[in-house]
């Protein structure tokens, strides 16, 4: 696949410099030596993919970097991107026993990145069984982390897997939706390249959102894995939402990552206070917006963003407006916008507007960021796959859906969690699918 769609833009790189620079070799060894090497380590338990964290860390300490990387990849084929995007404060590093001794937790993410960078520098691909040694053939719909993990595991075990993606580039949100200072789109595509080297097939730019396309897939493949993620971002449901100058958070992030949005000016209002909202607000600041507000209808204590993301946004200079709700978007002079807002207060679980608290914010861009909606139109076409509240109903341990031909994992099942959750789900589904064939073959 070509990475031509990913610009190597000097300005972009300067504006979105890495949040956490890589460890030098000696710093990595010093950090690795600090690890206590816990038995049945809590960090491993907290990781959705159960990476053997002390195992890979101690391999760094001894200089067995290849062994370290393989230890990571055996558990999590997207170990490189997870090292960059995982909210480790609430996962492995949050579980590190060191904090109970008033010591800093081991910098697991940076160590994982150290091992993965070395693996990448050596140009390696993890070992896999001979392709076709399992007769199973699977189509994975969507090229995000869930499908990538599922397809990679299938190929490593000798089965065949083909990823079908409607966008130009694979990687899903890893490529299009993660803040560039955490994970560069080019690095995501590079990681996908390693998965392709395992023997995974890719069909990008292919839309299967039709009965006919799905029927064709059902004929061509033994099983189908749904790693379709979520749909577009939810609409605010207020007048003026379709005006020029309104762009949702994922559109904004994808636009600057692919070089279609290089510059912002003036005032940007992000509506919402989740992690994606913060990514968009920080991006707006870095792209040049002088003033960036985050508008949230509840209070500081209610935001769904991780604490470290909230702190980061404050450092970036993002300003927060609590208990304020958007009402309408109107046009203003010089192509600007007026966002009508009102102060609200929570009464018996309901948000009620405060009288005389309405005012219009003059701004240049409004960024709705109140979560993604389910992929309703695709899901309706899937016969026999149970869908509940916009999510595919699948067994979390196996990814099985109500239709034995279909498996599913990732955001389309869990409603939107982290990359590492999608990887774990995709891999579990792959292992379950392999078991299915064992039964059939016997």
């Amino acid at each position: 696949m070509s990475t031509a769609a990913i610009p190597d833009d000097e300005q972009l790189r300067a504006r979105f410099g890495e949040l956490k620079p890589a460890l030098t070799r000696q710093a990595a060894v010093i950090e690795a030596d600090r690890c206590l090497n816990c038995f049945d380590a809590p960090c491993t338990g907290a990781c959705p993919t159960h990476i053997d964290v002390p195992g890979f860390i101690k391999r760094i300490a001894t200089g067995n970097l290849r062994g370290s990387a393989l230890k990571i990849l055996d558990a999590n084929i997207l170990g490189a991107s997870c090292a960059r995007v995982c909210p480790v404060d609430v996962l492995c590093e949050g579980a590190c026993v060191m904090v109970r001794q008033n010591r800093k937790p081991i910098q697991i993410a940076l160590l994982q990145r150290h091992a993965m960078d070395a693996f990448w520098a050596a140009g390696e691909t993890p070992p896999a069984k001979a392709l076709g040694s399992e007769t199973l053939s699977v189509a994975c719909i969507g090229a995000g982390p869930a499908s990538l993990a599922c397809a990679a595991e299938l190929c490593r075990q000798g089965a065949r897997a083909t990823i079908i993606e409607k966008r130009e580039l694979p990687g899903g949100l890893n490529t299009y939706g993660v803040a560039e200072y955490k994970l560069r789109a080019a690095d995501s595509v590079r990681e996908v390249e390693m998965i392709r080297n395992l023997g995974v097939g890719f069909r990008c730019g292919v839309d299967v959102r039709s009965m006919a396309a799905l029927e064709a897939l059902e004929k061509e493949f033994d099983l189908i894995f749904l790693g379709v993620g979520l749909g577009a971002m939810q609409r605010l449901g207020i007048p003026g939402e379709d005006r020029d100058g309104v762009m949702n958070a994922l559109e904004l992030i994808a636009a600057y990552k692919t070089g279609h949005l290089k510059e912002l000016h003036g005032t940007v209002v992000v509506v919402g206070a989740g992690n994606t909202a913060i990514d968009a607000a920080n991006a707006a600041r870095r792209l040049g917006a002088e003033t960036v507000y985050m508008l949230y209808r509840r209070s500081e204590g209610d935001i769904s963003a991780f604490d470290f993301e909230y702190e980061h946004a404050k450092q970036e200079g993002v300003q927060f407006l609590w208990r304020r709700q958007p009402l309408a978007i109107r046009g203003a002079a010089h192509g600007r916008l007026l966002l009508d807002t009102v102060q609200v207060q929570e009464v018996a679980g309901k948000l009620l507007p405060l009288p005389d608290s309405q005012y219009a914010m003059e701004c240049d861009l409004v960024v709705p960021a109140i979560g993604q909606s389910p992929l309703a139109n695709l899901l309706q076409t899937l016969r026999g796959v149970e869908v509940k509240e916009g999510r595919i109903v699948a067994d979390p341990m196996t990814g099985r859906t109500a239709n034995p031909k279909y498996f599913a994992a990732g955001d389309c099942v869990n409603g939107g969690r982290e990359v590492v959750d999608a990887v774990a789900g995709g891999k579990r589904a792959a292992l379950a699918m392999l078991k299915t064939t064992e039964v059939i073959n016997v």
Binding site: P42, A61, G416
Partner: protein
């Protein structure tokens, strides 16, 4: 009230050597020149054993190598340097200068010459003329010099050691210390020979034969001298336990016991106190100074003083040798003494290193399943480490994305650590081996508690002696 504080000075060591404190620099690179020794005395060192004086040698380039451990530099240190490469006259001229400027500090001349009486007589007279307060006979150097019939080549043959000590004593007016090599089956053999030869004191231990490591790219051991290496002498923190044992052996043996200057891995006042508790009157330091410089002596002197103050000791003689009688042969240990491990749940951080150590390295009596009391009669059935591990790996973990989920993950239980990760000791099976308390990273989290109340002491000797005493010894 006027508090004069503890007195850490040394008086009359090996008969006549005084020094303001028991901390001497060992004969080594830190005592190579008069200028260095004077700076060391300014920093607070009480004495110095001059880098061994003898016919000047030619040293190789690349002389040291170290053993690092877990990120810590110089756990052990190795050298292939020989004795002084400076002319005898220069060393002795500088020694006279040092003694003139620092009359109260101990300056000991370390000596090594060819094994003939005249050579030894000559060097002894010259060193004492230069003002040396004592002489240390280097019978220990394990590399290079030994190939020329000196150093440990003497120190490994009791007869030679005795003979040369006798030659030295024929001329010496100052105390004669013999420095012992540990590279021998029983260090007491040479200690006894030195004593028979009339030595006034001993220094122990010299360095231990070693190869510190091998370069995995070139396959050449360190230190690399143009593609080859040679065994060196090992020292530093790693050798302290070996040195303490040898010091104890010497001082517990009446035929060996002499005033002893302790050497081997001493870097802090704590190390020094341990050597003194085993009977050493002074201690010698090298590796720690090579690592950090002369300045480390400040804390050594202060720490010793403050410890003595805490314990109520006024002089070093008040505590010197107190631990000698606390080392005995195994057969005299009480077989009925019984301790068990107790884990403090408030301190446990849940690393479970004690658990895996007990299962794989000891007696399988620390468990993660919090079963109380015997489950299955005397033999309890517990999950193995592999089963515990597999169970964790099979457990579904998800990122806690909402505040509520995070509160559930990081919520507080009765202890700082989730109860499921706090191991429990089966005291009926615990043999009191100490392994768990050795691996526990948290200070005083695992206590070894005595449980043998009201059981009379019985040693192995007493137990087997019951039926055998009549038949002889």
């Amino acid at each position: 009230m006027f508090d004069i504080g503890p007195d850490i000075s040394v008086k009359g060591f090996a008969g006549k050597i005084d020094s303001p404190n028991p901390f001497w620099l060992a004969s080594a690179p830190p005592t190579n020149t008069g200028e260095m020794i004077m700076r060391a005395f300014d920093a607070g060192w009480g004495g110095a054993v001059w880098k061994t004086i003898g016919e000047p040698v030619t040293n190789v380039s690349s002389r040291y190598s170290a053993t690092d451990w877990n990120g810590q530099r110089i756990m052990g240190f190795n050298n292939i340097e020989l004795i002084s490469d400076r002319p005898v006259e220069v060393n002795l001229r500088e020694m006279a200068e040092v003694k003139r400027r620092y009359p109260k500090h101990a300056v000991i001349a370390s000596l090594m010459v060819a094994s003939n009486r005249e050579a030894w007589h000559d060097i002894v007279v010259r060193a004492e003329d230069a003002g040396a307060d004592g002489l240390e006979l280097n019978f220990g150097c394990p590399h290079g010099m030994s190939e020329r019939g000196m150093g440990s080549a003497v120190g490994q043959v009791p007869e030679y050691a005795q003979m040369i000590t006798e030659w030295v004593k024929e001329k010496a007016c100052t105390p004669v210390l013999v420095k012992l090599t540990p590279n021998i089956t029983d260090i007491r053999a040479v200690a006894r020979a030195a004593k028979r030869g009339g030595a006034d004191g001993l220094s122990a231990i010299n360095t231990i034969n070693s190869i510190t490591g091998i370069d995995l790219d070139t396959f050449v051991p360190r230190p690399n001298v143009d593609g080859k290496s040679s065994h060196g002498g090992y020292c530093g923190p790693a050798v302290k336990p070996i040195a303490l044992n040898m010091v104890q052996q010497i001082l517990a043996d009446p035929e060996s016991a002499l005033p002893l200057s302790g050497i081997g891995g001493i870097g802090t006042w704590r190390d020094a106190v341990e050597f003194m508790l085993l009977g050493c009157g002074t201690v010698q330091v090298c590796t720690a100074v090579m690592h950090y410089g002369y300045r480390i002596v400040e804390d050594m002197a202060e720490g010793l003083e403050n410890w003595m103050r805490d314990k109520g000791f006024r002089t070093i003689e008040d505590f010197r040798g107190l631990s000698v009688v606390k080392v005995t042969e195994w057969k005299h240990l009480n077989l009925n003494y019984k301790i068990v491990a107790r884990i403090d749940e408030q301190k446990c951080i849940g690393c479970d290193l004690c658990y895996i150590a007990c299962w794989d390295g000891a007696h399988q009596c620390i468990h993660l399943d919090r079963v109380t009391g015997p489950v299955d009669g005397h033999v309890e059935l517990h999950r193995t480490p592999a089963e515990e591990d597999a169970e964790s790996r099979a457990r579904l973990a998800v990122t806690p994305v909402t505040r509520k989920e995070r509160a559930a993950v990081f919520g507080q239980g009765p202890y700082p650590t989730p109860l499921a990760r706090i191991p429990r000791v089966d005291e009926t099976e615990c043999v009191g081996c100490n392994l768990c308390s050795c691996v526990c990273p948290v200070e005083s989290c695992i206590a070894m508690v005595r449980v043998d109340k009201d059981v009379a002491s019985e040693t192995w000797e007493e137990r087997v002696g019951q039926g055998t005493r009549e038949q002889g010894n």
